[in-house]
């Protein structure tokens, strides 16, 4: 528990402040399940990698060292080196910032655009609602990978463009969920009562409908974070993400693939990191859902 405590301090200060407000943090920590604690630990570590990568690895992620190509994992190179003699651990640590910002931009885009569409659809009259939701249905019917590839081809390659492409695929999901929540909240007595006490459409929407319908949207955003990391890595793997030599996780897996028979660690290590981050994000989002319920 001690390692967790120290990491917890920096990494998830936000979540902690939140929990302080709801109940005493101490009693909350005691009841914290092990899996959830581990998930926070993983996410916290990855966030630290993104913020201060040089604290974790002294090697240069972009420049190889001559004569140290394709070395096995050892005390010096924790996860070995790649074909150009670059330390793999350093590349993973430095790659976190690309994968994480990509995922944040993607989820942020989906959250803002999708929720806005959903809230509008849920609170306006039938016809506009129908128009928006049929558009969303069309978006949902296109396979996400195909959609993101088409968008990248339109926008050009790069980390941010890949993130936008991934974000657009999650707009439909956010819109559906937000609309369903808004429709539920709008039917409640307290919203009618707010109109009854003279609220205008905008003020009721802002004061009552939004705060009460966003809980599950936020939980969904945490869930989407994991799948965004996965999708961005997929795009990187296919060569549609950041160009080499950027140490993006998907790209690392793709580069390692050529040496899989001789240097298996080059694909396995970044692969495991991606899997762990996705699982951790899922577990954390699940706990958000529970708190909301």
């Amino acid at each position: 528990m001690t390692t967790f405590e120290t990491l917890h301090e920096d990494a998830v200060a936000d979540a902690r402040r939140e929990s302080n407000r709801r109940s005493s943090a101490a009693s909350r920590l005691r009841r914290l399940p092990v899996g959830l604690a581990l998930s926070w630990l993983i996410l916290g570590t990855v966030v630290l990698w993104a913020i201060a990568p040089s604290l974790f690895s002294a090697f240069n992620p972009l420049q190889g060292v001559g004569g140290e190509q394709l070395q096995r994992p050892s005390a010096e190179h924790l996860l070995g080196t790649d074909a150009l003699g670059r330390d793999l651990y350093a590349r993973i640590v430095h790659g976190a910032v690309h994968s994480l910002t990509g995922a944040f931009v993607a989820v942020g885009l989906g959250l803002v655009l999708g929720t806005a569409l959903g809230v509008i659809a849920g609170s306006v009259q039938r016809r506009l609602d129908d128009a928006i939701m049929r558009l969303v249905d069309v978006l949902l019917s296109i396979p996400p990978l195909l959609l993101s590839l088409s968008i990248i081809i339109l926008l050009g390659f790069g980390t941010v463009n890949a993130a936008i492409a991934v974000g657009v695929t999650s707009v439909a999901g956010f819109a559906r969920l937000a609309r369903a929540e808004v429709v539920r909240v709008r039917r409640s007595d307290y919203v009618e009562a707010a109109f009854g006490s003279g609220g205008t459409f905008a003020s009721v929407l802002w004061r009552h409908v939004l705060p009460n319908s966003l809980t599950s949207v936020v939980a969904f955003a945490a869930l989407q974070f994991g799948s965004a990391v996965l999708q961005i890595s997929t795009l990187g793997f296919l060569g549609y993400g950041a160009p080499p030599p950027t140490p993006e996780w998907g790209l690392l897996i793709a580069e390692g693939r050529n040496y899989i028979s001789t240097a298996w660690w080059l694909t396995t290590a970044p692969g495991i990191v991606v899997v762990l981050v996705v699982l951790a994000a899922n577990r954390v989002s699940q706990s958000f859902g529970k708190v909301a319920a």
Binding site: Y190, A193, A194, G196, S197, G198, G199, R207, P211, N212
Partner: protein
Amino acid sequence: MTVIPGPFPPVLEVENLCIAYADSSGERRAVHDVSFRINPGEVVALVGESGSGKTTTAQSIIGLLAANGRVERGSIRLNGTDIARWTDRQLDTVRGARISLVPQDPGSSLNPVKTIGSQLGEIFRIHGALRSDEIEARVISLLARVGLSEPALRARQYPHELSGGMRQRVLIAIAIALKPQLIIADEPTSALDVTVQKRILDLIDELRAEYGAAVLLVTHDLGVAADRADRIVVLKGGRIQEQGATGAVLAAPRSPYTRQLLADAPSFTAPLRLAAVRPSIASAPDDIVVVEGLVREFVREGGGSALRAVDDLSFRVRRGTTHAVVGESGSGKTTTIRSIVGFDRPTAGRIAIDGIDVSGLTGEGLRQFRRKVQLVYQNPYGSLDPRQNVLQIVTEPLTNFLGLRRSDREEKARTILARVGLPEEALGRRPLALSGGQRQRVAIARALVLDPQLVVLDEAVSALDVSVQARILDLLDELQSDLGLTYLFVSHDLAVVRQISDTVSVLKDGRLVDGGTVSDVFENPRSDYTRELINAIPGRKRRAAA
């Protein structure tokens, strides 16, 4: 407490029963040393308000305590055998066969995806009481016995195709199927309309006489207990306040709490007001509400003729008085008031509030109109935003209308909250941390903070316990005389209506069947329906005796 042995061995003997619930902070005892007995064929009523431990006691008898509940000590003897610490497997042989339960909410107590017949047949299958080819015939005869028309058809139907009263009959059929010695009826009628309530209680009485079963009737309504029970056990805070023969308890209550309950039960109290006490009724010909020829039709989906929810309804309400709109579910009373407060547009007819024609209002005009008319909802659990605190809820209408500064708004909200009797420390709490009565006070404060002229109360007290209900009614009465408010009081409960209204309109199927001053309508009801409603008020035995 010593138990005097009766002439027959009792069916059930509960002795020194203590039940505790575990929560995060340890164990909290909910039932303290409760002892009572039920003789064969006897009806015993457990009376108390929510939180009194009456449902906990009833659940423990049939072994259905919530998972965190535990019988700490004491015994529950069924025909002399202590079943208090039996395992579920042991209890299975008793449940349904010797003790059965009629649950509180017929809406959620039946499985929605199975037919009535298969759910009723299940009890025979579980207990292996009948061969499978006999079950169907038995199910149909039972459904007929509990008074359902076309029993063969009902057996093939699903719960959602039946009304609340019919579902409760099905649950009673399940409870009596194996002729148990003891039927536990946990608030069997509180979710039902008054006339249906009476018929269901009559049915339980009839079946008890026929099968010789004893009944433990759990209720918050002393009126119901007075009519139906041989003996009454009054509970408060998990402790027995008083128990004895019904007549004796009602005639000479020993504990102050029973006296309080008697004073609060609307079925026993005399009308608060008589026309003579309120001269304003006769002198001021000033009608604040005028409803003329109101019609509201709903178009049915998939074509067909439109459904007429309100059919040619007219009434007037004088300023400063209370007018009650009475009817059962489906009578159109809610549709009517929604039109009056401007949430719904009538198909035809005219509604004028304080000279303003409501049906012509839109946009900003409608918003300004809302300052004059405020609605208090039936369910205080749903009408307050769970994310706002009390002060925010009450200041919100002020923010919408008056350009006051924040401190002035809060000052005004505090004044009105103090006026409705809410303690100062409750202001920062969210609705979830308040009791039902406190929430309804907050809802009333929100309605009054804009100084409206008309307050529409939609079943505003029916979700509350009798004593809380009595306090809220007192408060409403006080506010009316102080602020000169006009109330439009919607209710299905004639006892409450008689207590606080000046005039009344009785609705049935969207039509006005009776109307006038309360004393006129109650003493000379002009329609059979009104007579039926008046007869359904529980507590007649006691009134007759008094």
